[in-house]
């Protein structure tokens, strides 16, 4: 196996690895701004400079030349080389921490900072700013730059992003992202030299759905997400990884939250699903987790404790012969399994369906045209709902049928999710339903007309599994505490099964997973 020495550490490698990545895997940080594993190499920031040496070989004998102490001599290249662009070869010797490199790094940082406004106190990037980190770690504490700093005219570049060119270090990640990943030639370097600007090209606009990523990969505060500006200092936020539920793709996301409120979503690297990115649509839909949330149950429009709501629901279901069930593919695979079993064994009905969206009806698992990640299906778990069998039985009504004429049923069990609320008039007829049982994390006008309305936990407050449009199963864990008395949907169904005399005994997510053989 080929070997390379980085800072006296011998590392084995295979293939043709990137030096920065190889070093990172082995616990050595080569600082960089412009390099990004998903983008082409630009080599412009000069921060990742390393010393590159090769072992001295005697031309005649083919043996390695040794010094007095018996160590093999190393020939270092006269100039430091960019680590991002260094072709790794067997026997190579890399120094990332020699005096020369530390000097070079300091020198580069001095230039990077020369025209940087150092306005960290008012910059949203502070705390997660690469330039800030490196300045602490590698930089000078004082600048000898006494000239007037460069300033740019402020430009509105898009509603999603706020650009502050004065902070820009011209690493070109945003422009490379736009052309290489988003496939749009709207944003690029303009002007030249010290006046170089990253800007929307004349007459163009940024229209792609992935602009937030430009802010994510911006190593400084030159591009920030308008929505998050001045909302919170990042070090006051708590972080948790979960899944995005805004479409069938199921991108991995980092939720930033404080005092039970979500402030933003950021993509988390997930090799199989979204790699480094997520779409703006999903990114900005975190808001529904903060708005009109339900913390307690109600019966007949009045607050009710959980037990009384539960027994009322059990009575209704026992008494009803003809039950319509509109499930939701926002619910986890575990819930869907319990739900499916419930309406087969406890309160049998053929009128069960999860398909409230056209894409679900068509079982469309494709992406929207021109999109990198966003699926046509707005639900994260349609695949799971289908696998759980939440489809109408023989002669059963579809979800669309039930939504159209709910009064035909003795009782209707309705899952209300953020998508169906957003879709507008879908629920228009539901007030006509007799014996409506609602399960939802959100408040709605139906709470007043429903016979029973349960507060359920939103996906960010519970665990479960989603199966995305590509059939990939992804588990998620709670990142926020549940609101008030909100319960998991599977918990409600499990307790109902007990009250109705056919107890499942599935009172934990682990039991559900093992019962339905969903894995751990």
């Amino acid at each position: 196996m080929a070997k390379i020495t980085i800072d006296d550490k011998v590392i084995e490698y295979s293939g043709n690895p990137n030096l920065i990545e190889l070093a990172k895997e082995n616990g050595i940080d080569i600082p960089h701004f412009c390099y990004h594993p998903a983008l082409t190499i630009s080599g412009n920031c000069r921060m990742c400079l390393v010393e590159v040496g090769t072992l001295c070989k005697n031309q005649q004998t083919g043996e390695y030349e040794k010094d007095d102490k018996g160590n093999i001599k190393v020939n270092f290249m006269p100039k430091p080389q960019p680590g991002c662009y260094q072709q790794v070869s067997d026997g190579m010797v890399i120094r990332t921490n020699s005096e020369r490199i530390i000097e070079a790094r300091k020198g580069v940082l001095e230039f990077t900072l020369a025209n940087h406004p150092l306005d960290c106190p008012v910059c949203d990037q502070a705390g997660e700013c690469v330039l800030q980190d490196y300045s602490f770690q590698y930089g000078f504490s004082r600048s000898q730059f006494i000239e007037k700093k460069r300033t740019y005219k402020k430009n509105e570049i898009s509603p999603v992003l706020t650009q502050e060119m004065n902070r820009c270090i011209h690493c070109d990640r945003c422009a490379r992202f736009t052309t290489e990943i988003a496939g749009e030639s709207s944003f690029a370097r303009t002007w030249r030299g010290n006046k170089m600007e990253l800007s929307v090209l004349p007459g163009g606009t940024i229209t792609h759905n992935y602009q937030g990523n430009m802010a994510d990969i911006c190593p400084v505060g030159a591009l920030t997400i308008t929505d998050f500006r001045f909302k919170s200092r990042v070090w006051f936020l708590n972080y948790g990884v979960t899944l995005c539920t805004s479409c069938g793709k199921g991108c991995s996301v980092m939720t930033s939250h404080k005092k039970g409120k979500v402030f933003r979503l950021k993509p988390v690297y997930n090799e199989k699903v979204n790699t480094y990115w997520m779409c703006d649509h999903g990114r900005l839909r975190y808001r529904f987790l903060n708005e009109s949330r339900k913390s307690g149950h109600s019966a007949g429009g009045k607050k009710a404790n959980f037990q009384s709501a539960l027994s009322l629901a059990a009575e209704i279901l026992k008494a009803s012969k003809n039950i319509g069930v509109i499930a939701s593919a926002k619910e986890s695979l575990e819930t869907c399994m319990v739900l499916s079993r419930f309406f087969r064994e406890v309160a049998p009905t053929a009128h069960v369906d999860y398909r409230v969206d056209d894409a679900q009806v068509r079982d469309d698992r494709s992406l929207r045209p021109g999109e990198l990640l966003r699926a046509k299906d707005p639900y994260p778990n349609s695949f799971g709902a289908r696998e759980a069998g939440l489809l109408p039985g023989q002669g059963g009504a579809t979800a669309i049928d039930i939504l159209g004429a709910p009064e035909k049923f003795d009782a209707v069990v309705l899952f209300i999710d953020d998508h169906i609320i957003e879709a507008g008039d879908r629920l228009g007829n539901m007030s006509k339903a007799k014996n409506l049982i609602v399960l939802s994390p959100f408040e709605s006008s139906l709470d007043s007309t429903a016979a029973v309305s349960f507060a359920t936990r939103a996906y960010s407050e519970t665990s479960g599994t989603y199966i995305n449009i590509d059939g990939i199963r992804q588990k998620y864990c709670p990142v926020l505490p549940p609101l008030g008395d909100a319960r998991d949907s599977w918990d409600i169904l499990n307790q109902l099964s007990g009250l109705m005399g056919k107890s499942f005994g599935l009172d934990s997510i682990g039991k559900i997973r093992s019962h339905f053989k969903l894995g751990d």
């Binding site: 070079a104 230039f111 000239e147 030249r192 030299g193 010290n194 170089m196």
Partner: protein, 420 residues
């Protein structure tokens, strides 16, 4: 040694741009010889024997560069002529382009034949309006005469040639940014490796040479590499064009053998300092090369090694002569203004460093300098040249350092007593 005109032979004749005149004086004979009597490897041997070093400034041996191209590599391969003569002080290529374009075209076709290249591009700086007209006309004439296009002179070898107008960026004289510019991209230098010989224009193997380098080729074919090498010094073969400007009596382009003493070029050809003034300094190879004081010129001959031994560079042969009235502070101010304007802005040390240097010299020039600014030049330079993608970083720190070191008292005077 007097002027020896090989490339500039008969250039004073008003018909010298025409193909008939050129052919009437032995033009395209070398091409004929190359295509009919010589194999590519024979020509390559002659080129290597000639000691012809690239005339764009770096002085890389042309024969060696040509041998980097793998003739048998499948698919199209390109030849590029760098006619983006942008170094302040250089105006030798313009002379060839405008008055004797056929000698360059002939050299290019021979080069293409040696390396097995399919098409050539002449990248001409946008400001060269008349030279572009002349080259375009020459290319048309060559096509009409069967010297370009399919089956050149019945040899079976085909080669197409095009001109491309640059937009006037200094950096596009750097070969990899020239290639980017030719491709329609921003003129930013590329990271190397790969070098153009592997991945060049449109990702294909390519060779880039200077106008003057190509123009030297026909005489090498006609007379042999040894003959050409014999004209110059052991390490720098042949003749070289020098564009001498500034405070001299007869500025202009002179073709002299490599190794000609500086005094001959300066006194005998250019006629010495204008108006009987005293010589103050000489920039021997274009604005980016270190300035030399008169005492450093003693015994200097005009070839790569000798100029280098004096601590400067021959560069593109752009000799700028400065007399005693020259204000070195204002001159450096002007030079750094040029470089600050021309930095491509791609990599950090150069983008930020250029303007920083310019800001510093502006302050000094306007009487607001500090003594530590001179040390700042020194300190910053250590982190510019070695850390940048291309040689532009060295191109602007070099004059700054050599000016402030060799004429420190003038800078100190400005700093202490202001601009008088």
């Amino acid at each position: 040694m007097p002027e020896k005109r090989i490339i500039l032979d008969k250039i004073e004749d008003k018909h010298s741009p025409n193909i008939d005149f050129y052919r009437g004086n032995g033009g395209y004979e070398a091409l004929k010889k190359a295509l009919t009597q010589m194999s590519p490897s024979q020509i390559l041997d002659e080129m290597k024997a000639s000691n012809l070093r690239g005339r764009g400034g770096a002085g890389f041996p042309v024969g060696v560069k040509w041998s980097f191209i793998n003739r048998t590599f499948p698919g199209p391969k390109y030849l590029i002529c760098n006619a983006d003569e942008g170094e302040p002080g250089t105006f030798k290529d313009r002379e060839i382009l405008q008055k004797k374009p056929h000698i360059m075209i002939e050299g290019m076709i021979i080069g293409a034949y040696v390396m097995g290249l399919d098409a050539g591009y002449i990248y001409i700086r946008g400001e060269f309006y008349e030279p572009i007209q002349a080259v375009d006309k020459a290319i048309r004439e060559a096509y009409d005469a069967g010297i370009l296009g399919k089956d050149i002179m019945g040899s079976g070898f085909s080669f197409d040639l095009y001109t491309y107008r640059g937009a006037g960026a200094y950096i596009c004289g750097e070969e990899s940014s020239l290639i980017n510019s030719l491709e329609g991209k921003r003129g930013l230098p590329r990271l190397r490796p790969p070098f153009p010989a592997q991945v060049g224009l449109y990702g294909r193997p390519s060779t880039v040479n200077n106008v003057e380098s190509f123009s030297a080729v026909p005489s090498i074919i006609n007379n042999g590499g040894k003959w050409y090498a014999g004209l110059g010094t052991p390490k720098s073969g042949g003749t070289k064009l020098f564009s001498i400007s500034g405070h001299v009596n007869r500025p202009g382009v002179y073709e002299i053998p490599m190794g000609t003493p500086w005094t001959e070029l300066f006194n005998d050809m250019a006629g010495g300092v204008k108006d009987g003034k005293k010589l103050k300094a000489v920039i021997p190879g274009g604005s980016s090369t270190p300035v030399l004081r008169p005492e450093e010129l003693d015994g200097m001959t005009m070839d790569y090694e000798s100029v280098q031994s004096k601590g400067s560079m021959l560069g593109s042969g752009a000799v700028i002569v400065l007399d005693e009235t020259t204000d070195m502070v204002k001159l450096l101010y002007r030079i750094l203004h040029f470089y600050a304007h021309e930095s491509c802005g791609q990599c950090t040390p150069c983008r930020e460093g250029c303007d920083w240097y310019y800001d510093i010299i502006s302050r000094i020039r306007h009487g607001k300098g500090r003594l530590e600014d001179l040390d700042l030049f020194e300190r910053l330079a250590k982190n510019i040249g070695p850390n940048t993608i291309c040689a532009f970083g060295d191109a602007f720190t070099t004059p700054a350092l050599s000016f402030t070191r060799k004429f420190r008292d003038e800078f100190v005077e400005y700093i202490k007593n202001g601009n008088k």
